[in-house]
């Protein structure tokens, strides 16, 4: 017979801090990720590192992401590291967060320049020849602000967190990228875009079942639009792009208390390019499907991996993405509780 209060439950409850955000940061070719807009307690800090391996093969005149024009018969490989810091806040009595993203890495391009508009070729490249080019360095850093509009009021106290059982939630997310990343105006490929750009999104979530580790399931839908300023020095020319419309969706489910999986979808369309006011290439229409596996190693540490590939939309582009991510989260109270539990 055991009676009395099991104060150790306090520890278990703090483990629910694992509903930390795992902001995937931004790499424009990838999605935010499953459960990216889950909320944490005010004051929770989250650091995330992720490695992206991106492979693309374009058989037509295609664009693979908002930053780059891709050449027919081009093979592109990118290895990118993204560091992200997010802090959970309370704004207007709503759960909110502010995230800073820094990315860096390298991109390698092999392309055939047949049928490539001359304006898209670097000065030293002869039309009709093959082209190999690489870029490395930092990409454009960005800042993202997220605030809940519906379904998640403030999570300032432990009590708020204990009582937190979201069902339908709606957020607003605003991202702004600062064009200070590596950019060489004479190169086809760069890590930075040399222009301001940003995104407006409305992340929506619907949670099924108990909001408790081991039970949680969610359907997440984030419609958003990327908007780009012009790049006034794209190999000496002016590059403009239409907005890029994007739908990101995830169906997530807890398999155990510390392990969840997700089916992922990312669909993008729009982004018509113009060089000096003339349409170039086609509009983008790419749909990626993939999956994510996420394992919470400790109350603070989470590891995640995902894979996706475009399976519908434009048929002249094949791409695949592998992502490995580590997320570490902490909160002052949680750290102090650990100290107290461990004693002196």
């Amino acid at each position: 017979m055991k009676s009395g209060i099991r104060l150790t439950r306090l520890w278990a409850f703090f483990a629910t801090l694992a509903i930390i955000l795992s902001y995937s940061g931004l790499a424009l070719a990838v999605d935010d990720g499953a459960r990216a807009y889950w909320k944490g307690r005010d004051g929770t800090n989250v650091v995330s590192f992720q490695y992206l391996n991106l492979n693309m093969k374009a058989s037509g005149t295609q664009q693979f992401d908002p930053s780059h024009f891709i050449y027919p018969n081009a093979d592109t490989k990118a290895n990118v590291m993204i560091a992200n810091f997010a802090r959970h806040l309370t704004l207007f009595n709503r759960a909110s967060s502010l995230a800073i993203n820094v990315a860096g890495g390298s991109v390698d391009l092999d392309a055939n320049t047949n049928n490539v508009p001359s304006g898209f070729l670097p000065p030293q490249v002869t039309p009709g020849t093959s082209l190999s080019q690489s870029a490395s360095g930092f990409a454009d850093p960005s800042v993202q602000f997220n605030v809940n509009l519906f379904g998640t009021s403030q999570l300032k106290s432990t009590v708020d967190l204990v009582n937190y059982e979201p069902t339908l939630t709606l957020d607003a997310a605003v991202l702004l990228a600062v064009p200070i990343g590596q950019y060489n105006k004479n190169d086809l490929v760069n890590m930075g875009l040399n222009r301001w750009y940003g995104r407006l999104g409305l992340p929506i979530k619907y949670h099924f079942g108990a909001f408790a580790p081991g039970y949680r399931s969610s359907f997440e839908l984030t419609p958003s639009v990327w908007i780009f300023a012009e790049n006034d020095d794209f190999m000496g020319q002016k590059l403009e792009n239409d907005p890029l419309w994007q739908i990101e969706a995830h169906l997530t489910h807890d398999f155990t208390r510390s392990f969840f999986g997700s089916l992922d979808l990312l669909y993008r369309s729009g982004f018509q390019s113009e060089i000096n006011g003339i349409n170039v290439g086609d509009k983008l229409a790419v749909g990626n499907l993939g999956f994510t596996l996420n394992y919470q190693v400790t109350d603070s540490l989470t590891m995640r991996t995902s894979y996706s590939s475009n399976v519908f939309g434009d048929s002249d582009l094949n791409s695949s993405l592998i992502r490995i991510q580590i997320v570490y989260a902490w909160h002052r109270l949680m750290e102090n509780m650990k100290k107290l539990k461990q004693g002196h």
Partner: protein
């Protein structure tokens, strides 16, 4: 036809004899009626009832499982129980109604009308001590020394139905269908999942066995939820049986709010944050309401918070919320049960039988303060632990109440449920054996009245029902001698002719797990294992001290001596065997240490945190 007429005459005489001799004691009544029966050379048969179906009342016996004394609104509780509160307004509430400290023991007396040590549940079958095994009265099932009220009613023209928990035997000759219930949907064991996953609490019988109409169920219907299904079945049985016009006896043995605390999804948050303030505040509010309602006398001593329970204001708000969640679930189960009882009442009204139905509502024992999950699964590596791993390991805060979880609300909330009494289920203190009782229907006078005078016992229900049905409890049943009823009929009391079926000389006795008690009038002696008792007799005056806080042994030694002598009589009368072992023999070690702070100690500290601003204000005064 002639036989029927004679039988009716005997029944009528028997009723008049009982009414006339209510206070004269059972021997006179029984003797007279037996004589009449013997003269007639007949036994009462069921054909009589069929001949005049509307002359006798229906019975709806509703038993809640582990419901606390003060949980219902009509007993001072904050839980929303409008149906039972209305029943209380239509009928009568009683404040001194007693049951046994645990469920199967109570049920044996409820159905037999005699002491549990006679009826086969001298101890819970699962917990018989070695020296009790195989002894008469310790069969662990409802034995054949008794006839059930269902058997007697069925044989005398009643339809007999049961839906819910049996816990009085598993074998074919022990199950409800074999013990008098024509129709049944029964959980045969003590408790388990309320859902269709069907796990049992005990690892020895990992899957809870159910029967329907006497046949074992392979599996529960999909979507099963205990309280709802038992209600559906009760209504179904009554509906399917009513064509022949016979009266019915329906036994609704709910398994709510027994742990695990389970609720349908749409009821999970019905009491969201209702109990965040903690147990102390809620208990104080209940006590105040109980005084307003007259359930508890002004100035009567309520039991102190048990020594190992912290005052709730010493807990962080988050912990209070987490602890409160369990009480939310418990309250939800109670209200859900109330709601379902309302469905049965509505149905009875619809078919025109409500006004001809005697409704009796009780709980089977005190509220559950023990941690049954820990008792089953507390030892890592044990079979119980493995069983829990397979079936009910989940206990996340937000998942509690759902399938696969096992929440109980613990001793602090159990004390709230049992306010103003001491301890909880399992113990023979008032917190283990006092139950709410509401009786309503034909033959019940004094709508809305609160009866505080009568000292009543669950054994009384059989003679009461039989008398209202015009049936005499026989001395033999199917060729075997059966134990006489020890309970006392309430018919005179219900009719308003007396305040109580007991005189000041009458007494009641209890023994379970070697804890013992005797109550006579306002006085009670009890002997409890440590740490709740001294394992010696203690004397309490329940009129002044319902919380059993002050041992008056030294002040009234003669009174104590007299009650101890009654205990000896109780042992002799019922064949009580003190067990070599008891589940509570290690209670002192198993319970947590005392909390360091009590309400009045250390004296300087207040009960609430003092914000610095307020402190400065105080310092400047």
């Amino acid at each position: 036809m002639e036989i029927h007429i004679i039988t009716r005459i005997i029944a009528a005489v028997a009723i008049r004899a009982k009414e006339g001799f209510t206070m004269a004691g059972p021997n006179i009544r029984g003797g007279l009626v037996s004589l009449l029966i013997a003269l007639a050379g007949l036994s009462i048969t069921g054909t009589d009832a069929a001949a005049q179906p509307n002359k006798r009342p229906n019975f709806l016996l509703i038993v809640a499982d582990d419901l606390g004394y003060s949980d219902l609104g009509s007993y001072g509780g904050e839980i929303n129980t409008p149906v039972l509160d209305n029943l209380a307004q239509k009928g009568v509430r009683y404040t001194n109604f007693y049951v046994s400290p645990t469920c199967s023991v109570t049920r044996s007396m409820l159905l037999s009308g005699t002491d549990n040590h006679v009826a086969g549940l001298g101890n819970m079958g699962e917990l018989n001590a070695p020296n009790q095994v195989g002894k008469p009265g310790y069969e662990g099932v409802l034995n054949k020394r008794v006839a059930t009220v269902a058997e007697l009613l069925r044989d005398n023209g009643y339809h007999t139905y049961m839906a819910g928990k049996w816990h009085l035997g598993l074998k074919p000759d022990q199950i409800p269908h074999a013990r008098g219930f024509e129709r049944d949907f029964s959980l045969l064991v003590g408790g388990g999942s309320h859902f269709d996953d069907q796990w049992n609490v005990e690892w020895q019988i990992p899957k809870a066995p159910y029967t329907e109409d006497g046949r074992p169920l392979e599996k529960l219907p999909k979507g099963f939820y205990s309280t709802k299904h038992y209600t559906d079945k009760t209504i179904q049985f009554i509906e399917e049986g009513r064509q022949d016009g016979k009266p019915f006896f329906a036994y609704m043995a709910f398994t709510a709010p027994h742990g695990p605390l389970h609720l349908p999804d749409d009821w999970l948050r019905r009491y969201k944050n209702r109990y965040d303030e903690g147990w102390d505040g809620i208990r104080q509010q209940r006590l105040a309401r109980m005084q307003e309602l007259g359930i508890v006398d002004q100035g009567a001593n309520a039991a102190d918070r048990l020594y190992f329970l912290p005052r709730s204001t010493a807990l962080t708000p988050a912990v209070r919320v987490m602890q409160g969640r369990k009480m939310e679930l418990y309250a939800g189960m109670v209200e859900y049960m109330d709601d379902q009882i309302g469905r049965v009442f509505d149905y009875l009204k619809k078919i025109g039988e409500y006004d001809n139905t005697v409704v009796i509502f009780i709980s089977d024992n005190g509220a559950e303060g023990n941690d049954l999950r820990a008792m089953v699964a507390g030892q890592v590596g044990s079979m119980g632990f493995l069983h829990a791993m397979n079936n009910f390991a989940e206990d996340g805060h937000n998942s509690l109440g759902r399938k696969g979880t096992y929440a109980e609300y613990g001793p602090a909330w159990a004390q709230v449920s049992m306010a103003p009494f001491r301890i909880y289920k399992g113990w023979v203190s008032e917190g283990g054996i006092r139950s709410p009782l509401i009786v309503s229907g034909p033959g019940v006078q004094g709508a809305g009245k609160l009866n505080k005078e009568a000292i009543l016992h669950v054994m009384d229900i059989v003679p009461t029902v039989l008398e209202l049905a015009g049936i005499q409890h026989p001395s033999t049943y199917k060729g075997r001698e059966i134990a006489p009823v020890q309970g006392k009929s309430w018919v005179g009391m219900l009719a308003g002719r007396t305040q109580s079926p007991r005189t000041s000389d009458d007494w009641l006795g209890w023994e379970l797990f070697n804890n013992r008690a005797i109550r006579q009038g306002d006085w009670k002696i009890s002997l409890l294992y440590r740490p709740f008792g001294t394992y010696d007799w203690q004397l309490f005056n329940l009129a002044e001290d319902p919380g059993e806080q002050y041992d008056l042994s030294d002040k009234f030694p003669e009174k104590k001596k007299k009650l101890v002598a009654l205990w000896d009589e109780y042992v002799q009368m019922n064949g009580v065997i003190i067990g070599e072992r008891s589940p509570f023999e290690r209670a002192r070690k198993a319970l947590p240490d005392a909390v360091p702070e009590f309400d009045s100690y250390p004296p300087f500290r207040g009960l609430e945190a003092l914000p610095y601003k307020k402190l400065i204000e105080l310092m400047n005064q």
